[in-house]
């Protein structure tokens, strides 16, 4: 109870601020509506009720957003384009594929960097530089050019091609934290632990699998949690510039075209829930690995 208390207080505070702000932000439009309808002497309670229930409010209220989430998940078959689950799945598949590619790339780069000083010097600046380019500038390039290469030269059907293009953007964002974290992790064994391997005349392979790799696990999972969230951002960004019709990003874009603010917010809620689920999933795997590796219970 002691732990839930503050959370509930915080939640109530957020809802109060939210609904308070909704009154102020939606009031101009509501006044307009009254003026055009020549409605006068609206009671304050009616006014507030109306600002909380507009069709295209500047700031939708919580019950509108979660009502929309409910309507477009539970009340719609998940294979219909009206369903948020359908869109979330499209985004999730690109996120998952991109996360997998990015993680493997990040780990691979870290292994090269740790084992080879020349690689360290030549790769690391490029890895850092890669993240200074705004992904919003790069995403349309990757999506348009990548899509054309996949469908044209490689002859891949449009749907997998679209998935791959988005996954590449996901991977581009997620490889960085994994690479940086794993470089640190693979270098984390102490001199004394490396000396021990040396006295056994262990091969570089043995030193890697029996010392560096297990020592890097805590670093790996910290990076993966950052990486999986970055992957989701990448997939959503990848859905924005293409006129894509499916995915949470496409849903956001469509909502903004038609001023469907409630729809935008519902998609945002879906995206954040997806992000939370992904991070939780990585956390569960981390706990399982920790248990298998005999970590001291926290």
């Amino acid at each position: 109870m002691q732990r839930i208390g503050p959370i509930i207080v915080m939640l109530i505070a957020i809802v109060l601020v939210w609904y308070g702000a909704a009154i102020g932000m939606n009031a101009p439009w509501q006044n307009d509506v009254y003026r055009r309808g020549e409605v006068t002497n609206v009671p304050a309670t009616q006014f507030i009720y109306d600002t909380w229930n507009q069709e295209k409010p500047v700031l939708p209220t919580a019950h509108q957003v979660f009502g929309e989430v409910w309507n477009s998940t539970v009340l719609v078959a998940p294979n219909k384009p009206r369903s948020l689950i359908f869109h979330a799945w499209v985004t999730f598949s690109a996120t998952g594929l991109g996360f997998l590619m990015g993680s493997l790339l990040g780990i691979g780069l870290a292994v090269l960097i740790v084992h080879n000083e020349a690689m360290n010097r030549s790769l690391m600046p490029w890895i850092v530089a890669s993240q200074t380019i705004p992904i919003l500038a790069l995403a349309p390039l990757i999506v348009v050019i990548g899509f054309n290469i996949f469908t044209g030269t490689l002859g891949i059907p449009t749907d997998p091609a679209r998935l791959m293009s988005k996954a590449i953007i996901s991977a581009y964002l997620s490889f960085f934290p994994v690479a940086v974290g794993m470089v640190k992790g693979l270098r984390s064994p102490e001199t004394i632990q490396l000396d021990l391997m040396h006295t056994y005349y262990a091969s570089p392979n043995q030193t890697f699998w029996k010392l560096r790799w297990p020592a890097a696990m805590p670093y790996l999972f910290t990076s993966l949690k950052v990486g999986v969230a970055a992957s989701l951002v990448g997939a959503i960004v990848g859905e924005l510039p293409t006129g894509a019709v499916a995915g949470l990003g496409a849903r956001l874009l469509a909502g903004s075209y038609y001023s469907q603010t409630i729809q935008i917010w519902a998609a945002l809620v879906a995206a954040s829930m997806l992000a939370a689920l992904l991070v939780i999933a990585v956390g569960i795997v981390e706990r399982l690995v920790n248990r298998a590796m005999g970590a001291r219970p926290a």
Binding site: E190, I192, Q193, D195, L196, M197, H198, T199, Y200, Y201, A202, Q206, K210, L211, P214, M217, M293, G294, A295, R296
Partner: protein
């Protein structure tokens, strides 16, 4: 002596190149260690005793002179897995149980599962850790962790055991206990042991030979053959024979090193 020696150093020197100039860690060290000896290296910090041990282990490369282990170069001796090394810290891998930590060198050296099981059982019993095989290092006290690291060094049956201040981080009660256990272990296994320490009583209590070293440059100032009996109860440390050897060690340390700091 000569070719029968387990460790033989002739005019051995090691100079570290640093940004502040050269540091002479070892200078003109001549030493011969025979099979079955228990040799302690004692001296103040910076006298090169750990460096000498690491040179035997091929963890440092000498810059002059000659060093052989069983008549071979240190590099070849390491390839032959001629020695087990016990570090100042246990250096157990935290993700491995005690059993798996002891198995680490055996896995690397390609022992079969059956051989591993037999050796784990034998060496954990030797260091009195039977029953703790399934524990993780954090579940054990510091003394038990260091005993596990000794079991790990014994597991592959190297005849030479190199120990670098293995009990330095432990309190005196645990240290006394482990010292007497180490003597029993030495008697049971007939290994050659090189033991680095800061402690005069520890060196005298354990050794058949005490090498006194001094810093700047690191060199051997005295080699004392101990005539104490092989059977050594802890209270041997109050006997006149013991105290005489301890006094000679202390003299050797004083002669080789100015504690006033006027040489610095």
């Amino acid at each position: 002596m000569g070719s029968s020696a387990v460790v033989s150093a002739q005019n051995l020197g090691l100079t570290f190149k640093t940004n502040d100039g050269d540091v002479v860690a070892l200078s003109d060290v001549n030493l011969s260690i025979d099979k079955g000896e228990f040799v302690s290296f004692i001296g103040p910090s910076g006298c090169g005793k750990t460096t000498f041990l690491r040179t035997i282990a091929d963890l440092e490369q000498p810059t002059s002179g000659k060093l052989t282990i069983n008549g071979q170069t240190p590099g070849n001796a390491r390839k032959d897995r001629a020695y087990g090394y016990v570090f100042q810290a246990p250096a157990l891998y935290p993700w491995r149980t005690i059993e798996k930590n002891v198995a680490l060198p055996l896995e690397i050296m390609g022992y079969s599962a059956a051989q591993q099981a037999e050796r784990i059982a034998r060496t954990t019993a030797l260091v009195n850790l039977s029953g703790f095989e399934q524990k993780y290092p954090w579940q054990l006290s510091g003394g038990m962790q260091q005993r596990a690291s000794i079991a790990r060094a014994l597991a592959f049956d190297a005849d030479l055991l190199l120990m670098d201040e293995p009990f330095g981080a432990l309190d005196e009660i645990v240290r006394d206990h482990l010292n007497s256990e180490l003597l029993k272990l030495w008697a049971a296994t007939k290994k050659t042991i090189c033991f680095v320490t800061h402690s005069i009583p520890e060196a005298v209590y354990l050794s058949t030979k005490i090498v006194v070293m001094s810093p700047r440059p690191g060199r051997v100032t005295d080699v004392i053959e101990s005539d104490l009996p092989a059977e050594r109860p802890l209270d041997i440390r109050e006997t006149p024979e013991f105290l005489a050897i301890a006094a000679r060690v202390r003299d050797g340390l004083r002669a080789g090193h100015s504690y006033d700091g006027d040489h610095v």
